[in-house]
């Protein structure tokens, strides 16, 4: 029973990170190194626990052969309330993300934005258009001729920018910083054999 508990925790953590994508039983089985059957048994157990626990705000659903965590239905109105919350710092994050993509990548289509964020961005995009921070900047040539979005004058005004050139540079590559010192030291060590290092001061 305690073995099961720990296994349930493992599975919960995996499902949690997987989010919308969900996980198929055989994926879970592979990761936790068990059989598909056993994984399915544990998933059933997990489901039963969620449904039985009053203090669980989440539960599990199976869509298209994949399990994913979802919020329990009875909390839908609370979640809706998050959107109406007068100081919705949370929601500005979604808008800010979309705005950041548009600001740095303009002109850009909604599909590109969705791809970058990994979630649908229609809602935040509409909001930004409605607030005048973002506008249509023509259409992309080619199939479907999707709308291209860009930032507005109001955007510059609200962010205190003279022009788009005033946007601070962005690090897109995880570690683009090939610093000269590193390169230098690589060569340096080839040429010069460092003896010791006990640690103390340097570490």
């Amino acid at each position: 029973m305690t073995i099961d508990s720990a296994m349930l925790g493992r599975i919960e953590s995996l499902l949690f990170v997987a989010g919308d994508d969900g996980l198929a039983p055989d994926q879970i089985a592979t990761i936790i190194d068990t059989t598909k059957g056993e994984a399915e048994r544990l998933l059933d157990q997990l489901q039963t626990n969620y449904e039985g626990r009053m203090d669980a705000g989440i539960t599990m659903r199976k869509y298209g052969g994949r399990y994913r965590l979802v919020t329990k239905g009875e909390y839908a109105s609370d979640i809706a309330k998050m959107l109406e919350n007068p100081s919705p710092k949370l929601m500005t994050q979604a808008s800010m993300e979309v705005l950041a993509i548009i600001a740095y990548k303009q002109p850009v289509t909604r599909v590109e934005i969705d791809d970058l964020r990994g979630v649908k961005s229609e809602g935040p995009l509409q909001t930004l258009v409605a607030k005048g921070l973002v506008m249509e900047k023509g259409r992309l040539e080619g199939s479907g001729r999707p709308i291209l979005y860009g930032t507005t004058e109001l955007f510059l005004d609200r962010f205190g920018l003279e022009s788009l050139d005033g946007l601070p540079p962005l690090a897109e590559v995880e570690e683009g910083e090939q610093e000269d010192t590193d390169l230098f030291m690589t060569k340096f060590q080839e040429a010069f054999n460092m003896e010791e290092d006990e640690g103390g001061i340097m570490d």
Binding site: V17, G19, D20, D21, D26, T30, I31, K36, T71, A76, I79, A80, M82, L83, E84, P88, M91, Q93, A94, S95, M96, E97, A100, I101, L116, G118, V119, K120, E122, G123, Q126, T127, L128, A130, K131, R158, F159, G160, G166, L167, P168, L170, A171, E172, E174, D180, T181, F184, Q189, A191, F192, M194, E195, E196, D197, E198, G200, I201, M202, D203
Partner: protein, 254 residues
């Protein structure tokens, strides 16, 4: 004890100096300037060969070291004895400022290492994307009058990149490596037993991606070859049926 060669990256003249002090096992509060200076300059020579960009910064410190060294060669003022230190009337040690700089730098260098540990500890806790709330309505935008900060934009963008980095690969890449024909054969036999020994061909191919389906098919071929299953149909164009071989019906261990 294993002899450890550590690749040290110097982050500037002060870093190099700290390294030398550590390596030479020098008491930082009583630095032998002659030795340290010569070691330091020796290192810079090696660096010059490699044309270090920051050479000028290293040279500035070299000049400082030489200056301190020469100051210390000047005749020492008379010392009265042990009780002298009680009235705190000391001449300034020419090394004092350097030591203070080194200690201050060392403090932040150590703090950097601690921060690195904090980041590592943080990194073992994974989060999830926020849920897509468009179903519930339109997300709010920043309040009208609020002055916004471009650095918040960067923060938002970086957060998104992080999420992207943590994206889960497609099903295939996880399952591919693990799904063996052998296991799939067991699965198929299990399914057949569950269904009373016979099932439709299609029933074996309901779930899974392309890889999964291919493995299922190969497994089925292998089972046929071993005569563990028989594939048959009533007439042309009828549903293909799979039936488990006689010897398998009552035997769990094929």
């Amino acid at each position: 004890m294993a002899y450890k060669v550590k690749l040290e990256v110097f982050e500037g003249p002060l870093d190099l100096l700290l390294h030398l002090i550590n390596r030479l096992e020098i008491d930082i509060y009583d630095i032998p300037m002659a030795e340290l200076t010569s070691q330091y300059i020796e290192h810079i020579h090696t660096m010059r060969v490699l044309q270090l960009d920051e050479l000028s910064e290293y040279l500035v410190l070299a000049a400082t070291l030489i200056e301190i060294k020469s100051k210390m060669l000047l005749p020492i003022h008379e010392e009265e004895g042990l009780d002298e230190h009680q009235d705190f009337e000391f001449e300034e040690d020419p090394r004092e400022e350097l030591v203070a700089r080194l200690m201050e730098y060392k403090k932040y260098k150590e703090a950097a290492n601690q921060l690195k540990e904090s980041a590592e500890e943080r990194a073992i806790h994974f989060t999830k994307y926020p849920e897509d709330l468009s179903y519930y309505g339109v997300a709010a935008a920043p309040p009208e009058d609020e002055q916004l900060n471009v650095f918040d934009l960067i923060g938002a963008f970086q957060k998104m990149l992080q999420r992207k980095r943590l994206r889960i690969p497609l099903t295939a890449s996880i399952t591919k490596a693990e799904l063996s024909v052998e296991e799939k054969m067991d699965d198929i036999v299990a399914v057949l037993k569950k269904k009373g020994g016979t099932c439709d061909f299609e029933e074996l191919f309901i779930e899974g991606d392309l890889t999964d389906l291919v493995i299922s098919f190969l497994s089925l071929l292998e089972l046929m070859k071993r005569m563990d299953v028989v594939v048959w149909q009533n007439a042309n164009f009828h549903q293909l049926k799979i039936t488990i071989g006689q010897e398998d019906r009552n035997d769990d261990n094929r």
